[in-house]
């Protein structure tokens, strides 16, 4: 699974690879909270394959996950 970090998140320490078995975004959030507490501070949104997700969605190994802090606008 590819995990992309944008904005200020890109300056944090690199994350370990997402373990196999993280089958949905709820489990991904829980794993992220364990490996990097404070990363998901409530303002960070998640996109799966370049689409924002608003609920728990299933994840597959080939998915591209993006963690998006608040955008600045253009």
């Amino acid at each position: 699974m590819k995990l992309l970090l944008f904005g200020r998140l890109g300056e944090r320490a690199a994350l370990p690879p997402v373990p196999a078995g993280i089958g949905d975004t709820d489990r991904l959030r829980a794993w992220l909270a364990e490996v990097d507490p404070g990363l998901l501070d409530g303002s960070v949104r998640i996109a799966v394959n370049r689409e924002l997700v608003h609920a728990n969605v299933p994840l597959a190994a080939e998915d591209e996950i993006a963690l998006l802090p608040p955008m600045s606008g253009g």
Binding site: L4, L68, M71, S72, G74
Partner: protein
């Protein structure tokens, strides 16, 4: 039409080409946004605008499509830059061609108000006092609210 590019923006050349293609329009309005040298009282020496390829472009295209649906336009162009920029350099260029000035003015302002609040960019300002990530300003959100 939208364009997202790392290369410098040349507003005069863009406006000339846009005008040449907008034959029959009665009005063309354009806006050029420049990188500010001062931001909230802090000097800016460099601005970095990060985007998400494949995610940012559709968001810009949606703003352009909404402007075209909302106003009677002959043509609309949004050119946005990403990457590293210096103060004074153009960061965004918007032009609208219409039969009458009202639609041209309004479409440009509408597109800019949406871009300033919704465009998926992450902005980092660097200056003598360090670097900081910027979020959309309260004034930008107020401008956005005007359009419902």
């Amino acid at each position: 039409m939208i364009r997202l590019q790392a290369e410098p923006i040349d507003p005069a050349a863009l406006l000339a080409a846009f005008t040449a293609e907008a034959a029959g329009a009665g009005a063309i309005a354009s806006f050029t946004g420049l990188v500010r040298a001062m931001s909230d009282g802090a000097a800016v020496t460099r601005l970095a605008l990060e985007h998400y390829p494949g995610f940012t472009e559709p968001a810009l295209a949606a703003i352009a499509a909404d402007a075209e649906a909302r106003f009677a336009l002959g043509a609309l162009l949004i050119v946005h830059r990403h990457g590293a920029m210096a103060p004074g350099e153009p960061i965004v260029f918007v032009a609208a061609a219409a039969a009458h000035r009202g639609d041209a003015f309004d479409a440009v302002r509408y597109a800019m108000d949406r871009l300033k609040t919704e465009a998926p960019f992450w902005k980092r300002e660097e200056g003598p006092d360090g670097a900081r990530w910027i979020e959309a300003r309260a004034g930008d959100h107020e401008s956005r609210e005007r359009w419902g």
